[in-house]
Symmetry: C2
Subunit: 462 residues, 2 copies
């Protein structure tokens, strides 16, 4: 069990015209040391609840117990949640459940339930799903830390009315809330109506919550080994606390990305696993990195990198042309997987056709790995910095570790960029405009601001 | 039936400190006129086969006929294809088939087949799918314009061996090739073994091929109205040929994006539909825009924008913080949908809880649309340029039109950026390295170059 980060191709000696200089890398020790002090201070102040993952083992047992019961009672689990309440769960399902989980028969799923995630409010997809579900064997998990997320609350109201109508009494048994332990509308409803509820610890922000009940309950319900997830994360957390930069994977990752952005202009940070199971990890990472680091520094200076997901080998046929020849504004982090649970040999057919013959006798897993190495080498050769995170396997332990690596890197990067990685003030204005248009009583000021915005200019509509 | 582009929020008057000046926009007429001449010259030279979409009506009838037969004979369709052979098909399935198509019962699919797209070579996902399929009722569509794409050929060899083994004779009936009409390995095999095959016209590049048999055959097989797709595209093609910039949607889109990049430094171009059915259109657009425009200009200067997909309202909880407060290097193009096939009313429950009460009586579709307008307004208010493409509905006609708008915009943008949007020379080096590692006889030179690349430096591996 191991996770390694190879950053050879981030340094100028190996990336002609494009990497970070030895001198800059040596100097970065100081900046990292300061970032580490910031992290320690935030932790001491109790702001980094996601680091306490290992201490959650006691509550894990409780969660597993609930999941074991519910997993048998329900055929369909539906998560109502958006952003940090959805992206981690989707990534875990794709990474750690059997592929195409919801398409499988009960038998192929080992009688674990299907898992649907409603991460939007488009009725075009929600209405047909609600029609199709047998409500009597469906559990809805409503996830909102604040207990008032508009999209999730709208879904909840619709689902609740349907449950009440279809099931008459006992509908509470089909609802679980995951929310703040004390505050917010969901908590109040849970108390008043005895709806089962789990806590999002107050010091765990949405985008850092995948290893809290937010991600762990859905994971446990479909049979994912949540203990191993948490163990892998805890192991990585220890590595990522180290004071020596060169021994600290999250520190190295964050410091390299920050240097690449601020010194080389490489502010687009691509995460590119060569692994179908890690296909949805990119979307989770994009939220983590974008919402944490895209901030006004000192309240005035737009700051932060732009994360981007990619998938190998697939995106060699989509994005790699741009990575190779487009502006020198990107770093690419590959994720490699050493051992696959199964492989397929490419048979020696059409031996007389050279465009096919060379493939025979190789394995698909080998092809995938060779393509990754070829792409990394080609990028380096063309002066494009890149690094590679290698997992021994895609299993719960390694995925937990990778998640923790990127979460801690986010905190270090926040300190390096000089911004607060834990808030998201930029989304407030849009929320207020939404409240204004929906007629919420307390949004009068936003309504006035909204009405002063320019209207569509008929000369500019085609 | 209508598609409109509102670019009010791209212009400086409406985007404090962030938009394109009136003067720059007026000046752009000349640049656009030159770009249009380039497109006309490319078309006259026969390089833009994707524009001939309307003339394909005759072959459409043939394609529909084949699809009608095959649709009845097979329960599962599997596309073997990557990049331009996969992304369009995935986008069409998500946009125009019933949601979660492959999860539906035969009855709910109206007895049309399931549609799987194998767009990678990871055995972790391919092996279980092949195990699960009943090969006797499965049709494999092998798509490669060149007839030699390594990933697709590897899949084909595996599938062919499985078919031969499982079905003894008649396995050809379970294969369709879509490839160049004359050249390449797949065409040669099709001829020798009488395998049904359809043409990718030689002048239609992979990323422009969704409205050729590449995308239309899979679409027809699951009951999508391919005539309407093509009609919508043809209608848009006519609008996008107009000489007057202000009347040409593709011209306006391309010219604005190019100005935003080259004059404002907004080189990250986000496409953000507020529509679940358009959820996968972003990946298709990303390939189109990235692989077409990310190029060395004059063989030396790295050039081109970086496209990015997003989904509303979902990504308000992921990327919008960065769009609002991160570096001023982005434009956002929203896609709005006027009419939804169904809507859901949010019931008036919990009237005593203000965080929920304001939602009651509104509809989900209304909420989705209000959130889009709020986000666009908030971005403009903060000096972030954005525009909005509005479709009356998500149906085949409108999706065809949107595809053509973006394809023609790509050609115009290529001319404005001064690069060739039809090639992809940057991926060649990685391919050669792959061939070298797989031991292909003709890759000796690449092998030598590969061996000279720096190896992982143990000091830089953690």
């Amino acid at each position: 069990m191991a996770i390694h980060l190879d950053y050879t191709n981030m340094l100028a000696a190996n990336v002609p015209g494009g990497g970070i200089s030895e001198a800059a890398w040596d100097d970065a020790e100081t900046a990292f040391a300061a970032a580490r002090r910031t992290l320690e201070a935030q932790r001491a102040a109790g702001a980094l609840g996601f680091l306490d993952v290992a201490e959650g083992h006691a509550s894990l047992a409780e969660l597993r117990q609930f999941a074991d019961g519910a997993g048998q009672a329900f055929n369909d689990i539906v998560v109502l949640g958006i952003g940090g309440s959805a992206l981690g769960t989707i990534a875990l399902r794709t990474a750690l459940a059997a592929p195409r989980w919801n398409e499988l028969s009960d038998d192929a799923r080992d009688f674990f339930p299907r898992l649907h995630v409603l991460d939007n409010v488009d009725p075009t997809t929600i209405a047909p799903l609600l029609d199709r579900l047998e409500l009597g064997s469906t559990l809805f998990i409503v996830i909102s830390k604040s207990g008032s997320t508009a999209e999730t609350m709208a879904q909840y109201l619709i689902v609740r009315a349907k449950l009440e109508e279809a099931l008459e009494d006992g509908f509470q048994r089909h609802l679980v809330f995951i929310t703040d332990p004390e505050k917010g509308a969901l908590r109040a409803i849970a108390r008043a109506e005895r709806i089962v509820s789990l806590d999002v610890p107050p010091n765990v922000g949405g985008r850092f919550s995948v290893l809290s009940p937010v991600g762990l309950l859905p994971a446990a319900l479909i049979g994912i080994d949540v203990h191993a997830l948490v163990d892998g994360a805890a192991d990585m957390a220890r590595r990522c606390e180290r004071a020596t930069l060169a021994e600290n994977p999250a520190g190295v990752y964050a410091t390299l990305q920050w240097l690449a952005d601020t010194q080389l202009g490489c502010g687009i940070h691509v995460l590119m696993p060569y692994s179908d199971p890690l296909r949805d990890l990119g979307d989770w990472f994009v939220q983590l990195w974008a919402e944490s680091l895209g901030k006004l520094r000192d309240g005035t200076t737009p700051t932060g990198p732009t994360p981007m997901g990619a998938l190998g080998a697939t995106d060699q046929h989509s994005k790699v042309q741009l990575f190779m020849e487009g502006p020198r504004n990107k770093t690419v982090t590959f994720v490699a997987v050493k051992e696959l649970p199964r492989d397929l040999e490419i048979p020696r057919l059409h031996g007389d056709i050279p465009e096919l013959a060379y493939l025979g006798g190789h394995h698909l897993g080998e092809l995938l790995d060779i393509e990754r190495r070829a792409t990394a080498g080609a990028l380096a050769r063309r002066g494009r910095p890149n690094m590679t995170i290698t997992l021994d396997r895609v299993d719960a332990w390694h995925v937990g570790g990778l998640i923790m690596l990127l979460e801690m890197a986010t905190i270090y990067a926040g300190a390096l960029y000089g911004i607060n990685p834990l808030d998201q003030p930029g989304v407030e204005l849009g929320k207020q405009f939404t409240y204004a248009m929906l007629g919420r009583a307390d949004a009068e000021r936003a309504r006035q601001e909204w009405e002063q915005l320019p209207k569509p200019d008929p000369r500019r509509v085609i």
